[in-house]
Symmetry: C2
Subunit: 397 residues, 2 copies
């Protein structure tokens, strides 16, 4: 398996994509992306936000995904179409209809029920549907006319992202996965909305895709936690064209999808809003892996831990205070902690030189041993910086 970052959703055979400026963003920047599966297969799987407040495009795409079948994905930035009521849902539906009509006009017979819709941006406003519907015609026209490019699509879904995120995996058995993502946070939880489209030319049915995607998301996107907030719009889609005519084993597919999701996670973490540090919180010695992830998440969300790391301050006591609130078994008087590989707390008390550990670098590793079992898990997070406060106190204005 070989990962390449300058290729995305059009790396596998059978996919076309592009991105355009449709005028949804007032800035005039690219804001509409389209990914089309040209087959022969149209198998697909998806995971969505766990938020009870779901945006209209999520509600629409959940209906679409009951068919386990996708021809196309239309994605817009510049507006989340969330908390927009029944009219917002009609807008998402109308967008899918418009994509289906335009694709059908260009010779690819498509129904609205084959079109997933993803949106990202400010919550609470209706989308400018004249711009969206006009944009749909234009983007299908451009794509059908040969203007294909995963890079343009990846660009068009950016919001506060500073760089587009793409990756492709070329398997030695001659099949490929491609992917793009946007977001400065994650599935559940999430900072800004996370949208991700993964494509493959492998032959795989919807159930195989579903298994691979759920397993990978559970170990990657679900363990990236920038600020504990979770979007109304998070969507990850996996589409298979079968164009390579190669059928990987389930294990091969699982491993490849995991590798792609893991790489996208690292890209998302590195570009999170206001990040100055990339932090990996690993909990070991938990009763179970699930307990380890819960405890790591509690630490990763703790504002006092995150501000200390922003200040390159080896304030390990805050890690103890944070983990002590995790609803999991632990031996409080035998907990040990290390920062960047150096023990700072042993059996619940400070280690010599603990305050002097150098945290001035960008990558910070925090390892906490709960001393009750063998479960372990890692959650990725970032520091809590002035830039985070600045960016998020002025986002909607």
């Amino acid at each position: 398996m070989k990962l390449v970052r300058n290729q995305g959703v059009t790396a596998p055979s059978g996919f076309r994509a592009t991105g355009i400026s449709a005028g949804i963003k007032v800035s005039g920047k690219p804001d509409l992306a389209l990914v089309v599966n040209e087959g022969p297969d149209l198998a697909a799987a998806a995971v969505f936000t766990r938020n009870k407040v779901k945006a209209a495009p999520v509600l629409w795409t959940q209906q679409v995904m009951t068919t386990k079948h996708l021809r196309a994905v239309i994605l817009n930035s510049g507006g989340a179409n969330a908390c927009t009521g029944p009219l917002g849902f009609q807008d998402a539906h109308a967008t899918a209809e418009a994509v289906a009509d335009a694709l059908s006009d260009w010779g690819t017979e498509t129904g609205a029920i084959e079109v997933a819709v993803c949106s990202t941006g400010l919550i609470g406003d209706r989308l400018p549907m004249d711009k969206v519907l006009g944009g749909v015609k234009d983007i299908v026209h451009e794509m059908a006319g040969g203007m294909t490019g995963g890079a343009e699509a990846a660009q068009a879904i950016m919001t506060t992202d500073t760089v587009p995120k793409q990756v492709a995996l070329h398997h030695e058995a001659n099949w490929t996965i491609g992917a793009m993502a946007k977001g400065a946070g994650m599935m559940a939880p999430s900072l800004a909305t996370m949208l991700c489209v993964i494509t493959t030319d492998a032959v795989a049915d919807a159930d195989a895709l579903d298994r691979a995607l759920r397993a990978a998301a559970g170990r990657t996107f679900d363990r990236l936690d920038i600020d504990g907030s979770c979007s109304t719009n998070d969507t990850v889609l996996l589409l298979a064209s079968g164009a390579s005519e190669i059928t990987p084993t389930q294990d091969e597919l699982d491993a490849a999808v995991l590798a792609v999701c893991d790489d996208l996670c690292a890209q998302l973490q590195a570009d999170a809003e206001g990040v100055t540090k990339r932090v990996a919180v690993t909990v070991t010695g938990a009763a179970t892996e699930a307990d380890a992830v819960v405890a790591a998440r509690v630490i990763a969300r703790d504002s006092l831990v995150k501000t200390a790391i922003f200040g390159s301050d080896a304030n390990w006591g805050r890690v103890l205070a944070a983990v002590g609130m995790a609803p999991v078994d632990m031996a409080a008087d035998r907990i040990s902690v290390s920062f960047n590989g150096t023990p700072v707390c042993i059996d619940g008390a400070g280690a010599p030189g603990a305050r002097d550990v150098d945290l001035s670098g960008v990558d910070i590793s925090v390892v906490v041993d709960l001393a009750v079992g063998t479960g372990e898990g890692t959650v990725r997070t970032t520091d809590l910086s002035h830039a985070y406060v600045e960016e998020n106190s002025a986002y909607s204005s």
Copy 2:
């Protein structure tokens, strides 16, 4: 009932207190406080942090409180004596012994098991016990010599607090409650450690005190949530001297203790680290009161909501996104939200003019109706500001 803020723990009859500089803080600021109950009763109750990682003084004082009986409380700032292992526990014990010995020397026969110990400051370092034990002798000497003052005690327990917090309640039936607190956060959860000593000259047994204190803490301190972090040292003590010879009814006692705790909560909220806004998040229409508090807490902890409020930005969509992650029943398409009394979201969609609500003031009210029941509850919080990041990224250095 009348609340007075320039009086504290020595307002009720039967209590003496003072605070001194013992040299525990390198700054030389006051760092040791003593509160003594001169009786005739020595009944007491306590609530403690729910953190599984408990500081040595908490472990000590939990043992003391099994007797439901307290002669004195010694409190230090300048060090939390948390995560200090068995030696830290010995330090807490030795401090209680020293207080007992010194009080006995001055004619008040006292055992260590009658002395509660509270500490606040940086986690992970042993206390300078020479300074602590010398300070204990000095403080008992000063207090016994007539240098009594709740104000000095309130001053000596401050850490990042910018003002001391005291309040007294004079009941029309001629009994009194006094209290002091420190902290920029709360019980569970908590920002910095919260310590609170409440005194009364009412006649009340330990069970009556326990009932009043638990009920009040559950509705006040437990519903103040600055940043979701919870200290290893949080302790609230309630001591009754019986010196007024008045026995209030349980309802009278409950109401008075609640009023005192509520006032201290408001003082703590107003002085929280880096606060520029005081925010009350009320959830109504929940299935139960407990559900309402859970949902309000999820909103109150959400970094995106808190940064938006810092920016005076009426970004109500973030409130919807936050509450959607609360593990409680809600009708997502009927949720309504108001800011400062103005509806911004009705039935899950934006209200006209929602973005223009003026949030430039210091006091912000957020009310969220989940539309499934009659349960309601309020959690107090603050915004997430640059000052918060600044203060907490440099605390231990």
